[in-house]
């Protein structure tokens, strides 16, 4: 299967105010079409920066991002981003339904279809009742779900999510994880999912990319060989789940201590696509 997303030698240096931060220091990875890949890494390691470069919102200092073979220089079509600052990414002056509908309107989706997509997306995230409310009338977790609904209603081929479940309670979080996996399976969308939660990364992903501390590199890249049908209880109780979790945990700890990825001859091969 072809790589839909290719990140090659990606480097990003922030300069300004007399401060120079090399946020991303040379990243290489590819994501095959239809994969659900999770990115974990210590706080401040450049995950958001990476996502913004992939989304075409920020120009890398060097290196390139290619989407379906085309270099990304501006936000590509068929891509949706769920931002870490979900509250600020919603438009306070629009109702929840209008927030979800606006990108569809811009895309030229006919009115009736638009209404249907909005209704379905809001139902999917359990917010049918809140369609007429304004975002600031909702709780943090509900706002986050509006941002997710907006992204899925858009029917993207590539979905970038930046710590989307950070603000929701454990119960909602579990539901949203299953929702994302369900949508991913149903729509065949390629997902790049940033999280700081190791359990979540292993539970959700087909693959976990562990990033090192800044300047960021890929510290580890491991395939999650759990069955495709996952379930909050049995999967999390699985022995293999625990093993994978321990491995990712160890790698993230190593990254935090600033250990660089050693050229490891026994490194696992890029995981097989679904």
């Amino acid at each position: 299967m072809s790589a839909v997303l290719e990140v090659t030698g990606l480097r990003k240096v922030y300069e300004g105010g007399g401060r120079r931060v090399e946020a991303v220091g040379g990243l290489d990875f590819t994501v095959p079409a239809g994969q659900l890949a999770c990115l974990v890494g210590p706080s401040g390691c450049g995950k958001t920066t990476l996502l913004k470069c992939v989304a075409g919102l920020m120009r890398p200092t060097s290196g390139s991002v290619r989407l379906a073979g085309e270099p990304v220089t501006e936000p590509p079509p068929d891509m949706a981003v769920v931002f870490q600052e979900y509250g600020r990414s919603l438009f306070a002056w629009l109702s929840v339904a209008d927030n979800v509908a606006l990108p569809l309107k811009e895309k030229g989706v006919p009115r009736a279809r638009r209404a249907e997509l909005v209704r379905r997306a809001l139902a999917d995230v359990g917010l049918s009742d809140a369609a007429g409310a304004h975002p600031w009338q909702l709780s943090g977790g509900m706002q986050q779900r509006v941002a997710i609904a907006r992204a899925i209603a858009y029917e993207p081929r590539v979905l970038l999510m930046d710590e989307p479940f950070a603000a929701v309670d454990a119960q909602t979080r579990a539901e949203l994880e299953d929702l994302i996996r369900g949508l991913w399976q149903r729509l065949g969308v390629t997902v790049l999912f940033v999280t700081h939660d190791i359990d979540e990364a292993v539970y959700l992903g087909q693959r976990v990319l562990v990033l090192s501390a800044s300047p960021t590199r890929v510290q580890d890249d491991l395939a999650v060989d759990l069955p495709d049908r996952r379930d909050q209880l049995t999967t999390r109780g699985d022995v293999r789940f625990t093993e994978l979790r321990a491995r990712v945990y160890a790698r993230v700890q190593a990254a935090k201590r600033g250990e660089r990825p050693a050229p490891d001859p026994s490194a696992p091969p890029a995981p097989a696509p679904r």
Binding site: A55, P75, V81, F91, P103, E106
Partner: protein, 280 residues
């Protein structure tokens, strides 16, 4: 929502937050009425007790009677209409120009930097200094009033528009870009609503200044309106009439301010400064 919620326009004294506070102050209305009555009573007594000669300050009842007499004449309403017309027209022109220029220049940082020093020079020029120019161009026509009104109101609104355009949340902007909203859609759906609290603050400041300049122009130049009526009343020694007309202009000012505040509350129902009902 943390970042957004606490934002208010840089122009501190008249921020939308104050608007909400004033809007929620309905409970103080009876107290305010008592205050007005007390003021009128003092005004009535001061000339009657001879503390100030009645020639300079006629008692309140005399002034109110003069106001009632004026209000019975068509000329008063014509003058009022002329003032409102010059005010509204001038404000509308200033508003349209300030929004167009503000959005155009505000979204181009280089042009903004390029024009800043010119703006800083032109903005403090008091409008009244343009009176000779206005007379030269338009005589005692409404045009001379308009020139002063537009000049004064323009800067108030323009500066607020610039602040507003600069205060668009970068995350909201990036969201719009990531969903490929066109430049026009971003202005319409993101920049404009984000800047609206500032724009309306500018409108409120501009509306007040516009009224001041409309009256000033009519008073000094003699273009038609309440200002000219005041000058005429003064030169014919009708002191009670002068005070009556001053009260009428004051009433106009109150109405203008209340109108813009109402507009703010309507248009900014989603903004943190106006969300009082939702919070209750």
């Amino acid at each position: 929502m943390t970042g957004r919620g606490t934002r208010t326009p840089a122009e501190g004294g008249a921020s939308p937050a104050r608007t909400a506070a004033a809007g929620g102050a309905a409970g103080t209305a009876p107290l305010g009425a008592v205050g007005v009555l007390a003021f009128l009573a003092v005004w009535e007594l001061v000339p009657r007790l001879g503390l100030v000669p009645g020639r300079y300050l006629p008692p309140a009842t005399e002034v109110l009677a003069a106001l009632a007499a004026r209000a019975a004449e068509a000329a008063f309403w014509v003058a009022l209409w002329d003032t409102v017309l010059a005010w509204a027209l001038g404000l509308a022109i200033a508003f349209a120009a300030a929004c167009l220029l503000g959005f155009a220049i505000g979204s181009l940082p280089a042009v903004r930097a390029f024009t800043t020093s010119t703006v800083e020079f032109l903005r403090p020029v008091p409008s009244v200094a343009l009176i000779p120019l206005a007379v030269l161009l338009y005589g005692t026509d409404i045009g001379s009033t308009l020139l002063l009104v537009v000049y004064a109101a323009f800067w108030q609104i323009y500066l607020q528009v610039l602040y507003g355009v600069a205060d668009v949340d970068p995350v909201a902007e990036q969201t719009a870009r990531s969903y490929r909203l066109s430049r026009w859609s971003r202005i319409r759906y993101v920049t404009w609503p984000s800047a609206l609290p500032y724009v309306l603050t500018g409108l409120r400041l501009g509306a007040a200044v516009a009224l001041i300049l409309a009256i000033t122009a009519q008073l000094v130049i003699g273009s038609p309106g309440l200002g000219r009526e005041i000058a005429v009343a003064q030169s014919s020694g009708a002191i009670a009439s002068v005070y009556a007309l001053v009260i009428a202009t004051g009433g106009l000012g109150v109405a203008v301010n209340a109108g813009v505040r109402l507009l703010e509350r309507r248009l900014l129902h989603w903004h943190s400064s106006v969300r009082t009902e939702a919070a209750a």
